[in-house]
Symmetry: C2
């Protein structure tokens, strides 16, 4: 299983008058990235005994949704970033208007890709559930909601509760969706447990991001470090210090591993991925 | 059947820290509009013998997608409009960042609403097809593609071919989707014919819009008239004159009515709607 190949398989065509839109989508999707969400989805799918290719369009779809969120986050009206993963951001290459449209088209193409995928599947009920999870966790009660709370509180002193809300919805929701969709497509009954696990993993992931913003290098991260401090951003690290944050990431990771341990199936690959996420340096 | 009530039934909740996002979505959705797409969907559904409420979430979903496209079109980086249907545009009320997120959330919520709808339905195969149509016609091979071609050619002298492409994808695709989804959910086999009909209707609709930009009043349209001329925009009217454009709308409308006449079922309501669209003054 090669995730890059799977993502390439579901790219849009660059032909016709709207070719620049496809080009911008491909540029954004192929600009690198750790592919954590499709990896988690695949590992959960396998753990629950999934064996078919039906998982592939959903892996690509989730990466498209993650990518669209970055493309829109980088816009001048949002974070106004010109560099991501060491490359110029989508809007700074294609213009702000095509940047907006590129995000819109990636989000829509995610559902088109998933819908094509479930038209193929022998289990329309599972696929229907998976599409519902994808939409719910990406939307107002998931990523879009978390992003909004983040945006409207920029520059304000966040409470611990509000910070938790942002971490949960902005970062946790798509990681939860990864595990849940993997489980749903394999016919698992443990969707609620996968959801809980995903949210805890998301919290660990986001705090690790906050740590890396201080301890990593610009070369490793592909973007300037120290941006949270410069922007006076309240993070888990500013509230609890570096060592407190590291302890929290470790405790959350252990909790994730315990939860996974309680699920059925062969779990070594998923557990190894969770360990890798704790130890990541970018 | 009251479309306003159906749309209200599927609105998001305004509670919690992301309440302003829900508020902006509701503001955008309830700011008026002719509700043409859900009307077409409903009439096509009935014509092909559909009798159940499963159509409702799809009607709401399509209006959400139409609304998101207007919210993003109005952004400063796109058309930079502050007034729509006589009311301040979403971004000018909630800010540019929430305006972007509002569009994103409406698009995602459309799929969440449709997915909930098809989880309810006794015909998952039909509903799967309907979700696929929704995504395809809203995406790179539909509305997003058409919008991109429009945006990247702003201020340029359009050829007739390119203008037709923009009319087809930017306007026609969602009208085609309306008829196709109505048919698909009712189990019709005539999806290709509904698609063709929808694209011709979309062309008539867009040329009528171009005509109204000259012949209507600011009060009726809810926005300044004459904007195409001021922006040196190439339209069917600038290429063929007002009377040429009116003739074309009439000829296209007749063609639509002939195509509908060839389909099975009770078609009076849909035909009356098509007539009404030709005669509309706003």
């Amino acid at each position: 299983m090669n995730i890059e190949e799977i993502i390439k398989k579901y790219l849009p065509e660059e032909e016709g008058p709207a070719g620049v839109l496809a080009e911008s989508m491909i540029y954004s999707l192929m600009a690198g990235g750790k592919r954590i969400r499709p990896s988690l989805m695949y590992d959960a799918y396998k753990m629950f005994g999934g064996t078919e290719e039906v998982i592939e369009p959903f892996m690509a779809a989730l990466e498209m949704i993650h990518t669209y969120s970055l493309v829109h986050d980088d816009l001048p009206a949002m974070d106004n970033d010109t560099l991501r993963r060491g490359k110029p951001t989508t809007w700074s290459v294609y213009g702000e208007d095509v940047g907006i449209l590129c995000g819109d088209a990636l989000l829509t193409f995610a559902f088109e890709t998933a819908a094509k995928g479930f038209a193929m599947t022998a289990y329309p009920d599972r696929a229907a559930k998976a599409i519902g999870i994808l939409a719910q966790k990406a939307g107002i009660y998931g990523m879009c909601g978390g992003q909004t709370v983040d945006v409207i509180n920029t520059g304000k002193q966040l409470t611990e509760d509000l910070l938790e809300y942002i971490y949960r919805d902005k970062t946790g929701a798509l990681l939860a969706a990864s595990l849940m969709i993997g489980g749903a497509l394999a016919g698992s009954e443990d969707i609620d447990k996968l959801e809980e696990t995903g949210y805890i993993l998301g919290r660990a992931f986001q705090i690790q991001d906050d740590i890396l913003d201080i301890t990593s290098t610009e070369e490793e991260l592909g973007k300037p470090i120290g941006s949270d401090e410069r922007n006076n951003k309240v993070t888990y690290v500013t509230l609890h210090g570096l060592s407190g944050a590291k302890e929290e990431v470790h405790a959350l990771t252990e909790r994730v591993k315990t939860l996974i341990g309680q699920m059925p199936g062969e779990k070594d690959t998923l557990l190894a991925l969770v360990d890798k996420l704790e130890k990541r340096t970018y």
